[in-house]
C-alpha cells in the first residue's frame, strides 16, 4: 500500500530530478516484453492525448483577442496572487509543523501526522464544506471572528487563500518532513554544543540544509493551490474579480463560451509547463 507520504515524496522526486538514476542506454531496445510495452504506451498516450487535443482545438486565430480580455487577466492575476499567498501561508505554519512531526516525539504523533495528510486524500468539496462549518459566518470559529473582529472569510479573496492553503499545505508539510527525516539530526546537535539554542540551530543550520525540500514542497503546494477548484468554489464562491480563479473561470466559460475555456486552459497549461521546466533546470543541474 502506498501511503500519501510516499506518493508525494515520489512526486517531489520527479519534480526535482529525484534520486539520481543511472541512464540505461541500450536497455529499451533490447527485449522489452510486449505485455509491458503495450500497456506502457497506452498509458503514455492516455496522458498525452488530452493535452494534444487541447492544442489541436485551440482557437489559435482568436486567441490573442481571448487572452487580452480583462476577465482573463483578472482571473489569472487572482489565481497567481492567491496561490502565492496560500503557499506563503503554508510555509509560515507548515515548515514548523513539519519540524514538529520530524524532530519531536509526543503522544499521538502518528495520529497528528495522519490528520495532516488527510486533506491530500479528502475530496476538496468536502474540505470546502468543512471550512464553511469552521470558519463560515456561523461556523464554530467563524462566528467569533465575525462578532469580535468583524472578519468574514467565506466568499472573499481571503477565503480563496484559506481554501487553497487547506488543500495545498499538506503537500508542503509532507515534502519538508521527508527532507527533515533524511537530514542528519546530528548537525543540530553539533550546533547545540556550539552554544546554539534549538531555534537558532533550526534557523541557521537545518533550514539551509532542507532548502531543496522546502522549495520542492512549495512548488507542489503552489501548483496544487493554482489548480484548486472544489474547496474554493464551496468556501469562497465564484465572484469575478474577487474569488473567481482560473479553474473556476474555465469551468464557467465552458458552459457558455467553450473557445474561451480552451484559451484559459492553455494559459494554465503554459504556467504549469513553465514551472516544471524551471524546476528541472534549477535542481537537476544545481545539485
Amino acid at each position: 500500500m502506498i501511503s500519501p507520504h510516499d506518493k508525494s515524496a515520489a512526486v517531489a522526486d520527479t519534480l526535482t530530478g529525484g534520486p539520481r538514476r543511472r541512464r540505461v542506454r541500450n536497455g529499451a531496445s533490447r527485449g522489452v516484453p510486449l505485455p509491458l510495452l503495450v500497456p506502457a504506451l497506452a498509458g503514455l498516450a492516455f496522458l498525452l492525448l488530452p493535452l494534444i487535443a487541447l492544442l489541436v482545438r485551440a482557437p489559435w486565430s482568436s486567441l490573442p483577442e481571448q487572452l487580452t480580455s480583462a476577465e482573463v487577466w483578472q482571473a489569472l492575476r487572482l489565481s497567481l496572487v492567491c496561490a502565492t499567498a496560500a503557499t506563503a501561508l503554508s510555509l509560515v505554519v507548515g515548515v514548523p509543523l513539519a519540524w514538529l512531526l520530524a524532530r519531536t516525539d509526543f503522544p499521538g504523533r502518528g495520529l497528528v501526522r495522519a490528520l495532516v495528510t488527510l486533506p491530500l486524500v479528502l475530496p476538496p468539496v468536502v474540505g470546502g464544506v468543512a471550512l464553511l462549518l469552521a470558519l463560515g459566518r456561523n461556523g464554530v470559529v467563524g462566528q467569533w471572528l465575525d462578532s469580535w473582529f468583524g472578519i468574514t472569510l467565506p466568499f472573499t479573496t481571503a477565503g480563496v487563500i484559506v481554501a487553497e492553503t487547506f488543500v495545498a499545505m499538506p503537500f508542503l508539510v509532507i515534502s519538508v518532513e521527508g527532507t527533515l527525516r533524511a537530514a542528519d539530526p546530528r548537525y543540530e546537535e553539533a550546533a547545540t554544543t556550539l552554544g546554539a539554542s534549538r531555534f537558532t540551530a533550526f534557523r541557521r543550520i537545518t533550514l539551509p540544509l532542507i532548502m531543496p525540500g522546502i522549495a520542492a514542497g512549495s512548488v507542489l503546494a503552489w501548483a496544487r493551490a493554482l489548480g484548486e477548484f472544489g474547496a474554493t468554489i464551496t468556501f469562497a464562491g465564484n465572484f469575478p474579480g474577487r474569488t473567481q480563479t482560473m479553474p473556476l473561470a474555465v469551468y464557467l466559460a465552458l458552459q457558455n463560451d467553450p473557445a474561451a475555456a480552451i484559451a484559459l486552459s492553455l494559459v494554465l497549461l503554459a504556467v504549469s509547463i513553465a514551472v516544471l521546466a524551471g524546476l528541472r533546470d534549477r535542481w537537476m543541474t544545481a545539485s
Partner: protein, 361 residues
Amino acid sequence: MTEASPPRLDTVAAGDAGLDARLVVERGPFRLDVTLAVAPGDVVALLGPNGAGKTTALRALAGLTPLTGGHLRLDGTSLDRTPPESRPVGVVFQDYLLFPHLSALDNVAFGPRCRGATKAEARAQAAEWLDRMDLADHASAKPRRLSGGQAQRVALARALATGPRLLLLDEPLAALDARTRLEVRAQLRRHLAGFEAVAVLVTHDPLDAMVLADRLVVIEHGRIVQEGTPADIARHPRTDYIAQLVGLNLYRGLADGHTVRLDKGPDITTTELLSGPAFVAFPPSAVTLYRERPAGSSARNLWRCEVAGLETHGDQIRADLTGELPLAADVTTVAAAELDLHTGAAVWATVKATQTHAYPA
C-alpha cells in the same frame, strides 16, 4: 610528581578544577556507570570495544544524552541540569559534522557568534583559529572541498573557538585513511598538549589512545574495567579485550610462589613470587613451537596444542593455537615452513618462565 617540585596550581585546587563526574545512563537493558576524574591539562582516552558505552559517556558529558543518575561537575560547577548549549564544552564529532552550507571560516565562527560575539568579532576569532591550524588558505572553502585531515582540523578549531573547559573528541581519527591518520594524529597530539583544560577522547584504537592520552580508561559493557597510564595498561592488561589490543596472551589463575594455577588449564611457571589471584601475560613472540616433543627440554611451560588458524602478522606468521592452553604464537615465515604448520597440525608450545609476567589480579 617528585616531592621536590613545587605544588602546581591545579593540584592545589584539585577539589574544584577539572572534571569530576559519575555518569549513569540507563537505556533498556544497557547501563552505563562510569566515574571520571580528570585534572585540567590532562587528556583521558575512553577505550573500549564497539557498544561498550564510550560514545554514550561522551554524549552524556556534552549534555546530548541526559544522565539517569550520578553527577557532573566541571571546575567546581555542577552541570547536571545545564542544557548542552550552555555548557562550556566543545565537541569534535566522529565524522566532524561540519555544516556543509557554511565555509570553514563560518563553521568556526558559528560558536563564538552563538555565544554572543558580533559577526565581525566572531569571524576575526575564527580566522585566528584557522591560522593557528595552518588553514588560513582554506577559510572560504566549503567542507566538501576539504581533505579529511583539513576537515578534522576545522572541526577541532570549531570546538576550541568557544573556549571550552572540556573538550570532547569522538573517534577523532576514525574517518581518516591510514596515511593522513599518522600525520593528523601527530598534529592532534600537539594541539591537545597545548590545551589547558580537560580533554576526553573516545576511541577503539589502542594506538590513538596511547599516543594522544595521558591516561586510559577502558570501558567494557558500560563499566570501567581498567584505568591507568598507557604504559601500565600495556604491561598489565586485566581483560581479554585489553590483552588482545596490546597483543599479549593473558591468563587468570591462583598464584602460589612461582606457579600460577590457571582457572581453566595447566600451571604456568613464572619468575615473580606471588600468592592469591593473579594474571600471567606473555607476548606471542615468546612462544617457541615444536612438532615433536622436545627431548630433555628444561622448559617447565610445555603444552600440547593444535593449530586452529594461521595469518600473516607483519613479517611473522601468527599461529592461533588451541589445546591444553589456548594461545597465540608468532613464528618466522621460515620456521613456519620448516615446521610445516597448517590448520589442524599438532604442535608443542613452550614459553620460558623469564618471558612471562605475573601480577596480582
